[in-house]
């Protein structure tokens, strides 16, 4: 084909430009789908429970990802500050993942269990009351807003379409029992989502007020589970290096 023909035919040129610029992406992304070590083989990673999922949605709604990353890189300084580097397996059920790209605040990939729930409530409500030098905004409405949870089943159903194993049928439930064990499989059951959510909020009492189910309950439940699913004591130092 003569170059002149391409240059005088705008539609053809657009198509060919798209082909050329997609090559870079395709070369980097496509192999990850068939390389069998992309996602590390690791125990413990499970989809979020109904309450944690609502917390995650609030995390996204409030734009937490704009200032906080959830991606600990394999460097010594990050290892010392945040703990074990993040695994691909740890965000396999995240759609979309919350890796982020900017750290105005600290990384949150392993914030779960690091502080008490009471601290999180105090800090989200008025960050400067515990960290005077903080520039984080006050999220004071989280404690006031009732948590809307009637659509949590739909939210789980939507994620199920993307491949997250929330169970809608008996067969899926049984498959989950096999993979995750009965306790967790029960929590991934879409039919029991609302009931599970209320129960977890009650026993967890994340916002410190057992009489009111707030958005704070959900967000703190989510923060407290971040990075806690994998027990890294089970794996030797070289294990995860084999996957890269």
């Amino acid at each position: 084909m003569r170059h002149e023909n391409i240059e005088i035919n705008a539609a053809l040129m657009i198509v060919l430009i798209l082909v050329v610029i997609s090559i870079g992406g395709l070369v980097e992304i496509v192999p990850l789908f068939y390389i069998n070590k992309t996602i590390e083989k690791v125990e413990g990673v499970r989809p979020y429970t109904a309450l944690e999922l609502r917390g995650r949605d609030i995390y996204i709604r409030e734009g937490c990802y704009l200032c906080h990353s959830q991606m600990i890189r394999p460097f010594r300084d990050e290892w010392l500050r945040y703990g074990h580097y993040s695994l691909a397996a740890e965000s396999r059920y995240d759609h979309p993942f919350q890796w982020g790209s900017k750290r105005t605040g600290p990384d949150l990939a392993r914030v779960g269990g690091k502080y008490s729930s009471a601290w999180h409530v105090q800090h989200l409500n008025a960050p400067r009351s515990v960290v005077p030098e903080s520039i984080m905004p006050n999220y004071s409405w989280l404690l006031q807003n009732d948590l809307y949870y009637k659509d949590v089943g739909d939210r789980m159903r939507a994620l199920r379409v993307t491949g997250v194993p929330y169970s809608a049928t008996q067969a899926e439930y049984e498959a989950n029992v096999k993979t995750f064990g009965k306790d967790i499989a029960d929590k991934l059951d879409i039919g029991a989502a609302e009931q599970n959510l209320l129960e977890q909020a009650k026993t967890g009492n994340y916002d410190g007020n057992p009489n009111k189910l707030t958005e704070m309950d959900a967000l703190v439940a989510y923060l407290q589970v971040l990075g806690t699913m994998v027990d890294f004591n089970k794996y030797n130092a070289g294990y995860f290096a084999e996957f890269r």
Partner: protein, 312 residues
């Protein structure tokens, strides 16, 4: 006019054109790249091809080409050598990196000696201060503040002379390792409003915030007797017991009721009354750090916190 000029210029520089003309007179010079440049470019392409094969990069079937094995680290007692990847490089750096090695040597020294020796050795003390500062920033500063100043009512100040659970290095180490759970029952239902008022007044007299009065005398009866039973934890003299984590009420350091901030006696009394009525529950939990910090790190932290101020 333009046309003539361009043609003249073209002729004078005597460079070939690519041959096509647009809009009648737009032409493109054909300036070939210098030979040295062109060959350098080809050389980089060849370099890239070799680089691809020596380092892991190229997908191959359900895996990828691993290239040379260049990174060595220890797993258990075995030496493992793998291809270059950031995770392996990290393990190697944690093992052999300069600062990691120096730190490890110090850590091993510290593990062998007791607190007394660390305090006597200026080098170890300096190490404890610098490592402790980093660990404090990562693990403790969120609650206790970057300078250890704490938040009145929530998280204890670590720089003052008051130690609820003991201020010796050994006690601090114990607190860090296993955590603490501060607790005071609520007296809002046991004591009537008048009694609450009396006890609060008495507590304020203990640190000379209020003058002694009939009310404070009645408060003392309650404090030291079965009526209030405060003495069971705080002691008859109100000095507290570190084995229980009960506050010393006589040292003018306030950890929960923010008395110094209040201006009038009434406000001070109200602040103290509030603590007596509601107790201190579920908000003075110090987590156990033994799963997050190594025993050596905890030991260093104990030294660091001790020298932060008020260590006993």
């Amino acid at each position: 006019m333009m046309n003539e000029k361009t043609t003249k210029q073209q002729k004078s520089t005597a460079v070939q054109t690519t041959g096509h003309a647009w809009d009648g007179d737009l032409q493109e010079f054909n300036n070939p790249l210098p030979r040295w440049w062109l060959w350098s470019f080809y050389a980089t392409v060849v370099f890239a091809l070799i680089y691809w094969l020596l380092y892991p990069s190229w997908p191959w079937r359900d895996s990828w080409l691993h290239g040379l094995k260049t990174v060595t680290f220890t797993v258990g007692k075995e030496k493992v050598t793998t291809d270059w990847n950031t995770r392996a490089v990290l393990i190697q750096e944690l093992e052999e990196g300069r600062s990691a090695t120096v730190q490890r040597e110090f850590m091993e020294k510290i593990a062998k000696v007791d607190f007394g020796e660390i305090q006597k050795n200026p080098e170890m003390l300096a190490f404890a201060r610098s490592v402790g500062k980093g660990l404090f920033g990562t693990n403790c500063a969120a609650c206790h503040g970057r300078g250890g100043q704490g938040v009145v009512g929530l998280y204890p100040n670590l720089t003052d002379d008051d130690w609820l659970w003991g201020g010796s290095m050994e006690k601090i180490q114990e607190t860090l390792t296993n955590g603490r759970n501060g607790f005071m029952p609520a007296f809002g239902e046991t004591l009537n409003p008048q009694q609450l008022d009396d006890v609060a007044t008495y507590v304020l007299t203990l640190s000379a915030e209020a003058p002694q009065s009939e009310a404070s005398d009645r408060g003392r009866e309650l404090f030291q007797g079965y009526g209030g039973g405060c003495y069971a934890c705080h002691g008859k003299d109100g000095k507290g017991q570190q084995s229980l984590g009960s506050a010393n009420l006589t040292d003018r350091i306030w950890t929960i009721a923010n008395v110094p901030e209040k201006q009038t006696l009434e406000d001070k009394k109200a602040a103290v009354k509030q603590v007596i009525a509601n107790g201190v529950q579920n908000r003075r939990v110090m987590p156990a750090w033994k799963d997050r910090m190594s025993p050596n790190e905890i030991k260093l932290m104990a030294v660091y916190l001790h020298q932060l101020g008020g260590g006993q």
